[in-house]
C-alpha cells in the first residue's frame, strides 16, 4: 500500500513541478515579446506605456538571469504571490481566485458526486433491463458527445429563456446583497440549478455507459460464472459484479477530472457564473496573463488533490492495492 501511494505521490510531485515550470516558461519562451504584446493590446498612451513596461518587467522579474527568475517564481508561489491582476487592477490574483473557488466547489462537488452515483446505479440497472438498456445507451452516448457549453445553452434557452423558470446568469440576483438568509440561499440555489444540471447531465451519460459496459464484463467473468454454476441467485452475483465494476469507475473518475474542469469552465461562461471558468473568460478578454497563470496553477492543484483523494479511496476499496499486488 505504501509503495502504491508512494509511487503516485512521486508522480503528482513531478506533475506539479512540471506544471509550474510550464506556467513559468510559456510567457518567456513563446515567440514574441509578451510585455510589448500586452502593452500594445492594452493600448495606452506612450507615457503610460513606459510605466507599464517598467512594471511588467519587474513583475515578470525579467531583469535578472533566467535561473533566478525561475527560483523567484517558486519563491513567490510559496508565499501565495501570484502577481496582480490587470483586469481588476490592483487586486492580487490570489484574492480573485479565492473569491471564485467556493462557487466552483459549490457546482462541481455535487455535480461530480451525484452524476457518478446516479450514473453508476442507472448503468447497473441498464445492464439487466433490456428496455432501459435500449433507451439508456443512445441517450448516454448523445449526452457524452454533447459539448458542455451547448447543453448549458440548450438548458438556458429552454428552461431559462423560453419557459422562464430559471435565471440564466450570475450566482445570485443583482437585487440581493449576499447575506445569510433563507431568501438569499433560495436565490443562490435557484441560480445554481441550471449550471449544476448541465454538468450533471453530460457526466451522467459517461458514467452510466461506463458502468453498463463494466458490469456486463464482470457478469461474464470467471467468478460470476462459478457462482452461477453453483446456483447462486442473480442478486448476489449482481452485487459482486457491481462492487467490482465500481473499481474501474473510481479510476475513471481520476482520469475524467481534466475533462470535468474543462466542462465547468465552459458551463460557467454560459451562465456567467462567477467561478474560475468565468474568471478565465474575463482574463482572456482582458489579456490578463497573471490571472490566467494563477487560474492554471489552481486548476492543477485542485486536480492533483482530487487525484490523491481518489487514490486513497481506491486503496480502501480494492484489497489488491492494499496487499501491494498491483503496481498501477
Amino acid at each position: 500500500m505504501g509503495r502504491y501511494l508512494g509511487r503516485k505521490l512521486l508522480i503528482y510531485a513531478l506533475t506539479f513541478f512540471l506544471a509550474v515550470t510550464i506556467d513559468w516558461m510559456i510567457p518567456r519562451f513563446m515567440p514574441g515579446d509578451p510585455v510589448s504584446l500586452m502593452i500594445a493590446r492594452i493600448g495606452t498612451r506612450p507615457e503610460a506605456a513606459e510605466v507599464l513596461r517598467g512594471y511588467f518587467i519587474q513583475a515578470f522579474g525579467l531583469d535578472v538571469p533566467l535561473w533566478q527568475q525561475y527560483l523567484n517564481f517558486w519563491k513567490a508561489l510559496f508565499q501565495g504571490d501570484l502577481g496582480v491582476s490587470i483586469w481588476l487592477y490592483p487586486q492580487p490574483v490570489i484574492k480573485i481566485i479565492q473569491r471564485a473557488i467556493p462557487y466552483d466547489l459549490f457546482i462541481l462537488l455535487p455535480a461530480i458526486l451525484l452524476s457518478w452515483f446516479a450514473g453508476n446505479h442507472v448503468g447497473a440497472l441498464a445492464a439487466r433491463a433490456r428496455w432501459l438498456d435500449n433507451t439508456l445507451l443512445p441517450v448516454g452516448y448523445l449526452l457524452t458527445a454533447t459539448p458542455y457549453m451547448w447543453l448549458a445553452i440548450l438548458l438556458a434557452w429552454s428552461l431559462g429563456n423560453v419557459a422562464g423558470v430559471f435565471p440564466i446568469a450570475g450566482a445570485y440576483s443583482f437585487s440581493i446583497r449576499p447575506h445569510l438568509s433563507l431568501r438569499f440561499i433560495l436565490d443562490l440555489l435557484h441560480h445554481w440549478f441550471l449550471p449544476f444540471l448541465s454538468l450533471f447531465l453530460v457526466m451522467f451519460g459517461g458514467w452510466a455507459i461506463g458502468m453498463r459496459n463494466m458490469i456486463i464484463y464482470e457478469m461474464e467473468s470467471d467468478y460470476s460464472r462459478y457462482l452461477e454454476a453453483l446456483g447462486t441467485p442473480q442478486k448476489l452475483i449482481r452485487k459482486y459484479a457491481f462492487r467490482n465494476a465500481m473499481l474501474p469507475q473510481i479510476t475513471g473518475l481520476a482520469l475524467q477530472l481534466g475533462g470535468i474542469v474543462a466542462g465547468a469552465v465552459a458551463t460557467e461562461v454560459v451562465f456567467a457564473y462567477p467561478g474560475i471558468g468565468y474568471i478565465i473568460l474575463n482574463a482572456v478578454q482582458n489579456q490578463d496573463y497573471f490571472l490566467l497563470q494563477g487560474c492554471f496553477l489552481f486548476i492543477i492543484i485542485g486536480v492533483l488533490l482530487a487525484n490523491f483523494l481518489i487514490d486513497i479511496v481506491y486503496v480502501i476499496v480494492d484489497p489488491r492495492t492494499r496487499l501491494g499486488m498491483t503496481g498501477e
Binding site: P27, M30, L37, A145, W157, G258
Partner: protein, 288 residues
Amino acid sequence: MEQEQPKKVRSEFIFFAWRNAKLRIGVSILLVFIVFAVVGPFLVKYDPYEYSGPMGAPPSREHWFGTTIFGQDVFSQFALGTRSTLTVGLLGGCIGTMVGILVGLLGGYRGGMLDEFLNVITNIILIIPTLAVLIIIAAYLEVRGILTQSLFIGLTAWPWAARAIRAQTFSLRVREFVDLARITGRSSLRIVLTEIAPNMMSYLLLVFILQFGGAVLNAATLDFIGLGPTKGVSLGLIMNNAVLWAALQLGMWWWLLPPGATIAAIVGALYITNVGLDEIFNPKLREM
C-alpha cells in the same frame, strides 16, 4: 471448400459490419457532415462576417439559419465552421494518434528504463487537465490558426492513447510470433512495423476515432472561451459570439442551437461508430 476460408473470414467481417446498426447509423451521420463540410461552403451566398441582412432575423428563405445580431448570415458561418471543426478534429486526432502510437509502441516494445521514463511522462500529462494547458498556450499565441490549434490539441491528447497502445504492444510483444521473427534475424523496427502494428490496426482505428471526437470537443471548448483561431470561423466561435452578444437573453435560438447540435451529432456519431466497430472486431461483444 477449404480454399475459400480466407474469403469467408473477410465476408464474415462485412456481414457483421452490415448487420451492425450502430455502425450503419454512425457512419451515415458522419458521411452527411463530411459531405456538407466539403460541399457546404460552395453553397454559401455571403461572406460569413459580412453584414448582409437584417439584424437578428429568424430563419428565412434568404437566410436559412437566420442572421446574427449584426446581420451576418448564420448559415455561411455554420457551413465554414463545420468545415474547420472537422478539419481540426481530423488533424488533431491524427496528431494525437500518431504521438500515442509512437510513444506506446516504443515503450511497449523496448521496455526497460525507456519505457519507465515514457510511462512517467505519460502519467504526468494524463493528470494535467489538457484544457488548462491549452488555455495558457493559446492565450500567449499572437496568431492562432487551425493548424496550430490542431497541433496543440493533438500534442496534449495522446497520453491515454499511448497508455492503451503500450498495453496492447506489451501483450503482443511476448507472443511467440514476435520471438520467431527475432530469431529470423529481423530488426526491431521491422518487427514493430510488420508484426506488431498490423495486429493492432483495428485497435488503432478505434483509438483514432476517439481522438477525433476528443479533438472536436476540445477545439469547441477552446473556441468558446475565445481562444479559437484568430481568423476564420468555427462552430465553437459561433457559440462564443452568440453567448457574448446575449443571444440567450434575446432568445435567438437559430444562432445558438445549430453549431452545438452539429458538434454533438458529429461526436455522437463518432462514438456510436466506435461502439459498432468494437462489436465487430471483438466477437465477445457480438450479440447472437
